[in-house]
């Protein structure tokens, strides 16, 4: 098996090896804390390299062409800029800011820079109401919440959580949805019927109930939340991909591939999937914000991972002190709003760029 050892094989073997290694480490070396998310990162990274990085690298000219088209959409470029900024923030930020979970009651409810808060508080020792004045300073640029936690640190930590959940869950959902959609359309008949009825059942299944149940059984853990969102969120993708593939599979090049000796698996993976990649990219960018909001909603109602600080959790803390420390709720709200908007702009921009009929 020394023949063709290209980037594709490497991208297949390397993640498999890494997963095996991590698994061994996890089982035999006690005391190591291998987060379950690591497995997902490795597996999805492999798929990402095979189907996104390597074809993009192989056709730089085409990438350049599409980039020229996307570039004409200012909002999409701004959105892309914001997403990149967010990714950088999530990676570098935690090293620069304080611990987002550090509680300090002396520093509670400090407003952001440039704001002053006057609140009357009841002092236990004297039994009197005194007026406390707090002014924002650069030590806590975005202020603190009612437990004195630094808001900036919490926002940065939340950015990481949101991006992780958004990318990983969408990655799982897309991989599953694409595979099921393509297989369903390509084989047709009974296979199609079974897979699509299964999709229908999954669609009607109350995903929130499932999540509450699973969180109750296994405890709230980011990896479990990602898995549940990913494993239930593929249905729409599967339908879209199926309908796209239905028109592709009657094209003559599929017959030609078979006439020249390609197997079914080969036809599916190297001829059908690459032809729906542009659709997948658009679905991805448009479904990431949905996932991010879903995670925020879960954290908001208290079903999120308590070990990590996410935007939904901050939002929940801020909601209780909305009358005094309004900034605590505003900050994660604005971030959620901007993130969702940015992904939507990018998705729209990509869709227009990939649409051959649009005269951009």
């Amino acid at each position: 098996m020394t023949k063709r050892f290209g980037i594709r094989n490497l991208a297949l073997i390397l993640p498999a090896l890494l997963i095996g290694l991590t698994l061994l480490l996890d089982i035999f070396v006690i005391e190591t804390i291998v987060e379950p998310l690591v497995y997902l990162y490795i597996a999805l990274g492999g798929i990402f390299i095979i189907y996104v990085i390597s074809p993009l690298y192989a056709s730089r000219r085409l990438v350049n062409y599409y980039w020229q088209r996307v570039k004409r959409n200012r909002l999409a470029v701004a959105g892309l800029g914001f997403i990149l900024f967010l990714i950088l923030l999530a990676i570098i930020g935690p090293f620069l800011t304080a611990d987002p979970t550090a509680v300090s009651f002396e520093e509670k409810n400090i407003p952001p820079v440039g704001f002053t808060l006057k609140e009357s508080i009841y002092e236990l020792e004297t039994g009197q109401f005194i007026t406390r004045t707090a002014t924002g300073d650069w030590q806590h640029p975005l202020g603190t919440d009612n437990k004195g936690r630094d808001l900036l640190a919490m926002i940065i930590s939340g950015a990481g959580v949101s991006l992780q959940v958004g990318l990983l869950a969408t990655g799982i959902a897309l991989a599953l949805g694409t595979l099921i959609g393509v297989i369903s359309a390509y084989f047709g008949g009974k296979t199609d019927n079974i897979l699509m009825r299964f999709t229908d059942i999954m669609m009607t299944f109350p995903f929130f109930l499932l999540l509450v149940l699973i969180v109750f059984i296994f405890g709230a853990n980011l990896a479990i939340i990602v898995l549940v969102i990913g494993l239930t969120g593929w249905t729409g993708t599967a339908r879209l991909i199926r309908s796209e593939t239905l028109s592709l599979r009657t094209r003559e090049f599929i017959m030609a591939a078979k006439a020249l000796g390609a197997s079914d698996g080969r036809v599916v993976l190297t001829h059908l999937v690459p032809n729906v990649i542009s659709l997948i990219i658009v679905i991805a960018t448009l479904s990431i914000p949905g996932v991010i909001v879903a995670e925020a909603a879960l954290s908001f109602i208290g079903l999120g991972d308590p070990a990590v600080t996410s935007w939904g959790m901050v939002l929940r803390a801020g909601q209780q002190t909305l009358d005094t420390a309004w900034w605590v709720a505003v900050a994660p709200g604005v971030m959620l709003f901007l993130t969702v908007l940015a992904f939507n702009f990018v998705g729209d921009g990509l869709r227009d760029a990939f649409d051959p009929r649009s005269s951009l």
């Binding site: 023949k3 017959m255 078979k258 020249l260 000796g261 032809n275």
Partner: protein
């Protein structure tokens, strides 16, 4: 006599549709010899393409199914062959060229990559070797600056170039049989001549056996060694090209009318001849000879009995009562 490389015996490919059984290929019988070009001629919908797809085992099932007959290649019956073995035969031993190269090439890969993929699928070559081979193939089919052309996507090529790329791809594993399904229909006349040249050269340089499917009698005289004329899922006449075109005494009436339909340079400007009527329904075919409703020379017996094969001269078989013993008697 050259040796036979592919023999199709009593092939029956039916399509089972809601409206009834379509006998797309019904009792077809022919042989392809080594290094020869056999032309399969007939109107649209007479079963030429289905015959080709049956050979490669690519008839969509359901609704289609090969219900009878044998296709013998290299001692194997392709009808009952295992799918895995069939996949090895496709492309490596028997390759096919499609009518419309535009839709037969994958739009998201460069033609170089597609040929390389094809080579690597069937051989143990390294990527670099395969790439070099792909460029050589592109050169062989007459693509100018093949180095550069290999990095083009199908939509960047002209129709003729695409068709050549398709031919290069099907040649990549040096198949022994090449099935060409109307390879010149989608290109213009000058390109058509060039593509025919390529086939002519391939036949000589590679000793490839060609099964050339077309509806143009003009092409047949250009490239064919032997002709099989198909009508409504059946072969009505098989003969060598020279015999068929120069010996009109024993022609099948359908073949004569096909030839009459050709516009000639020497002819005065007249209305083009056409064959009256249309191809009969293959769900509910007429009794007796399938051609009798449209045949100018139809007799009473044609309505009742299917014509048997008649060997009129050596290597020339006609399925027509005009030459059969029963028909002669009446």
């Amino acid at each position: 006599m050259k040796e036979t490389i592919l023999s199709v015996r009593n092939l029956k490919t039916y399509f089972f549709t809601r409206r009834g059984t379509v006998r797309a290929v019904d009792d077809v019988d022919f042989e392809l010899k080594k290094g020869e070009c056999l032309c399969l001629v007939g109107e649209s919908g007479c079963g030429k393409t289905v015959t080709a797809l049956s050979i490669l085992g690519l008839v969509d099932r359901p609704p289609g199914r090969i219900v009878g007959g044998e296709i013998n290649y290299d001692g194997i019956n392709l009808v009952s062959c295992l799918p895995a073995r069939m996949r090895q035969i496709r492309g490596r031993e028997i390759a096919m060229i499609f009518q419309d190269a535009q839709s037969a090439l994958n739009p998201v890969f460069t033609i170089g990559d597609q040929i390389v993929e094809q080579i690597k699928l069937h051989s143990e070559k390294s990527h670099r070797q395969a790439r070099e081979m792909a460029i050589d193939l592109l050169k062989e089919v007459g693509i100018p600056s093949p180095d550069e052309a290999a990095s083009y996507y199908p939509h960047q090529l002209s129709g003729g170039m695409r068709q050549r790329a398709m031919i290069a791809m099907s040649l990549s594993c040096d198949p022994r049989i090449l099935i060409a399904d109307e390879p010149t229909t989608a290109v213009d006349v000058t390109i058509k001549a060039q593509i025919l040249d390529i086939f002519q050269r391939l036949k000589e340089s590679r000793q490839i056996s060609l099964l050339f499917i077309t509806h143009e009698m003009g092409l047949v005289s250009e490239i064919g060694d032997r002709v099989a004329v198909m009508y409504a899922g059946k072969i009505v006449e098989i003969a060598s090209v020279t015999e068929l075109l120069t010996n009109p005494i024993f022609q099948h009436p359908y073949t004569s009318s096909l030839i009459k339909c050709l516009p000639g340079i020497t002819q005065e400007r007249e209305r083009l001849e056409s064959i009256p009527g249309t191809v009969p329904s293959l769900i509910d075919p007429p009794s007796g000879c399938l051609f009798h409703p449209r045949c100018a020379k139809a007799m009473a017996i044609c309505r009742e009995k299917e014509p048997p094969p008649v060997n009129v001269t050596k290597g020339h078989t006609v399925f027509c009562h005009l030459y059969s013993a029963q028909g002669m008697k009446k």
